[in-house]
């Protein structure tokens, strides 16, 4: 079989469809990071004293830390003094009471992204807490949720209205001392989502947030906290996309999930941040800390992610399986094209007895991209009868990209069962020719084959997200062959 690298090369160039900037006046703090900036953020958000102190403590700790260099990614050093750490849309001043009062430009932005908030939210029965830059501008379906006692809204609102819950759980999964970016986030986070599902409640709808980076040169530091109380159930969707930008933008979010006895959290992400242009210029740096604490017995957390965006991704949604019989799952599709770099995977820390974890990771690399899976499966001494299954597959498109796997396995209990399977394959020219001979265009054929490769992950996504994810892969691979 003859391979034809040039053919693959030309598919690897395509335009970023969500690249546009909405013209909205922003209220932005001058660039730079110091205690005064943190006090200013806290004051602007009218936060209680304890939260300000928490931020300052995180900042002091952050100053002692070094930026991590162990991920398999390369980028020029980030100048943390060059970013602005707060930016709120002006329309916040007149605080929209309903969607009608929302700046139409904002809504237009969502429309362009194919997220008709009004119709989509209603039709799909999804409550949308839309984060535009750093402040929530619209929240829907509040009533339906509050009827059953579910608290869902912006993090700022939660700080104001439910400080006791925030105080109780904030930083208990990802402490301020956890890592460089988590410490930074704790110091300067501006907003995010908060969700609390009370005992025994099955959340009546899928919860979803669309993140979006808009104001120029503004680092984004989202903070998400989801608490599932005993016997509750929630499915949370997060999707993001960003406008085209030249300078690199830093994004360092922290997501904390707490699952108490017999509860279940399903957290799904479709991430499509600006990856930089075909020469690797621009693009988002996405350094995220996502972790779930399966604190209660029989609790379960599933992470499902489809990652197609960002210039650099550094992300390991993890589960601490503390409760007996608790279950952690990680289903991931990470696609990198052009000069994108991704170092992503998961950590499954088995502490409790009979804890189980499943890891299915699908990495796709095209163009000159580098895609690494990094995973830790740790079975501690007390994790009697624990089990893990890991499957790690890589697909290469063209011959200038790379796939890497770094699995770490630590087993301290003899009764544990750990399985690891890994494979690396190339999109086969025979497969492409077969499809094309049947009349299917080369691009459609690539999409079909890639989607087939990702099937095990896509079936874990909520229906509407699965469709979106397939579209996203198609858009992200446009021009990757041909």
């Amino acid at each position: 079989m003859s391979t034809n690298p040039e053919e693959f090369d030309s598919i690897a160039g395509k335009e970023y469809k969500a690249g546009f900037v909405t013209d909205v006046e922003t209220d932005t703090v001058p660039p730079g990071l110091n205690e005064d900036v943190i006090r200013l953020i806290s004051a602007k958000k009218e936060e209680p004293e304890w939260l300000l102190e928490w931020r300052l403590k995180a900042y002091q700790h952050w100053l002692t830390l070094e930026e991590p260099t162990w991920p398999n990614v390369h980028y020029p050093p980030v100048d943390f003094q060059a970013s602005s750490y707060y930016s709120a849309p002006k329309s916040k001043e007149d605080a929209p009471k309903s969607l009608d009062e929302v700046d139409p430009k904002l809504l237009e932005t969502y429309e362009k992204l194919g997220i008709p908030l009004r119709e989509h939210a209603k039709l799909a029965g999804v409550a949308v807490d839309a984060v535009f830059d750093s402040v929530s501008v619209a929240t829907t379906f509040k009533k339906k949720l509050s009827d059953v006692g579910v608290i869902f809204g912006s993090f700022s609102d939660a700080v104001k209205n439910h400080p006791e819950l925030v105080k109780k759980y904030l930083g208990t999964v990802v402490p301020i001392t956890d890592n460089f970016y988590a410490a930074l986030n704790s110091a300067v986070f501006t907003d995010g989502s908060f969700c609390y599902i009370p005992k025994g409640v099955r959340c009546p709808m899928e919860l979803s947030t669309y993140f979006r980076i808009n104001a120029s040169n503004t680092g984004q530091f989202e903070r998400t906290l989801i608490v599932a109380d005993e016997g509750s159930h929630v499915s949370y969707l997060e999707g993001c996309t960003a406008p085209m930008r030249d300078e690199n933008q830093l994004h360092a979010a922290v997501v904390e999930l707490v699952a108490l006895d017999d509860s279940e959290i399903k957290y799904s992400t479709v991430q499509n941040w600006y990856p930089g242009d075909e020469n690797g210029v621009g693009g988002i740096y996405n350094f995220v800390t996502k972790r779930a604490d399966c604190r209660g017995k029989n609790s379960k957390v599933s992470w499902t992610q489809v990652e197609t965006g960002s210039a650099i991704t550094w992300k390991y949604p993890s589960c601490i399986l503390k409760g007996e019989n608790s279950v952690g799952e990680f289903y991931s599709v990470a696609l990198t094209n052009n000069y994108q770099q991704a170092d992503t995977g998961t950590k499954m820390i088995h502490l409790g007895k009979n804890t189980r974890s499943t890891i299915i990771s699908k990495g796709i690399s095209a163009g000159r991209a580098q895609n690494s899976y990094r995973g830790l499966v740790k079975i501690t001494k007390g994790a009697e009868g624990s089990r893990n299954f890991t499957q790690c597959d890589s697909l290469l498109i063209g011959d200038k990209c790379g796939a890497h796997t770094f699995p770490y396995i630590e087993v301290k209990n003899q009764s544990a069962q750990v399985e690891h399977e890994a494979s690396t394959s190339k999109i086969d020219e025979d497969q492409l020719f077969y499809c094309r001979q049947r009349g299917i265009s080369e691009e459609d054929a690539v999409n079909m084959i890639v989607n087939g490769f990702c099937k095990e992950v896509f079936k874990e996504l909520p229906m509407e997200f699965a469709v979106e994810a397939q579209k996203l892969l198609a858009v992200s691979l446009e021009g990757a062959v041909g």
Partner: protein
């Protein structure tokens, strides 16, 4: 329908086809026989547009189109179908889904409306029976875990659905036991029509017992050195290829 004239093809600087001339009219079935390495599969690949082959001379006309200028999918849209010698497996891609995408691409080219999932399933229902394909193979991944016979039946099933004008059957008989061969041959025979031409590439005469060709050509060392009718195939079966070579020399 198909007119191949003085076709010369190189693979990595080695000339494989050295001046093929072949004319196939609508409704005709041509068998191309020849020993290993004579260029039979190269011919089927060049006609269907596979990359890796360099045409150095000659022309291929298909329904007044210069076939060699077209991409594989454009050739498929015009009605060229290749039943693969080794159908590939595509993990995770649903067999029916792929075929529906193919059919709709062809229908779009013809200016017909695309079929939705329901209409498509109704459309293929009878075609499945034609080659006695188990219906559950439709919802499995393309060719994945299919037996050799199932893969070949799946090829003929796809041909029945896509309704090509020119079907090239590349060693469709290889790897089939006698029962499977009969089923596949029955399927192919059912698809014979005055508007559809077929080019069958085969090593053995036995396929021709079931699918009777109108013409038989002997391809040796990149050239068609003898043509005849069905009787020629029988003679080849009896006497091998050497006598044709000698006769041609």
């Amino acid at each position: 329908m198909l007119n191949i004239s003085n076709l010369h093809v190189k693979v990595e600087d080695k000339e494989i086809l050295k001046g093929i001339n072949l004319k196939v009219n609508a409704g005709e079935v041509h068998a191309i026989m020849g020993p290993n390495g004579s260029g039979k599969s190269t011919l089927s690949h060049v006609l269907s547009g596979r990359s890796g082959y360099e045409v150095t001379e000659g022309t291929v006309d298909f329904l007044d189109n210069n076939l060699l200028e077209l991409s594989p999918e454009e050739r498929a849209h015009l009605g060229v179908f290749l039943a693969f010698q080794y159908p590939v497996e595509i993990p995770g891609v649903n067999n029916a889904y792929m075929l529906k995408a193919a059919l709709n691409a062809i229908r779009t080219y013809r200016g017909e409306e695309e079929l939705d999932a329901m209409d498509f399933m109704a459309f293929v229902k009878d075609k499945v029976k034609l080659v006695q394909l188990k219906e559950d193979l439709l919802s499995r991944s393309v060719n994945e875990g299919f037996s050799g016979g199932e893969k070949k039946r799946n090829e003929i099933f796809q041909m029945a659905v896509l309704e090509p004008k020119l079907a090239i059957l590349d060693e469709t008989d290889s790897g089939l036991d006698i029962d499977a061969l009969k089923i596949v041959a029955d399927g192919v025979n059912a698809l014979r029509s005055p508007e559809r031409s077929m080019v069958m590439i085969t090593h053995y005469q036995r396929l021709l017992d079931y699918i009777e060709p109108d013409f038989v050509h002997v391809l040796v060392d990149g050239k068609i050195i003898k043509s005849g009718d069905k009787k020629l195939a029988l003679e080849l079966e009896k006497r091998g290829y050497d006598w044709v070579r000698e006769e041609a020399a």
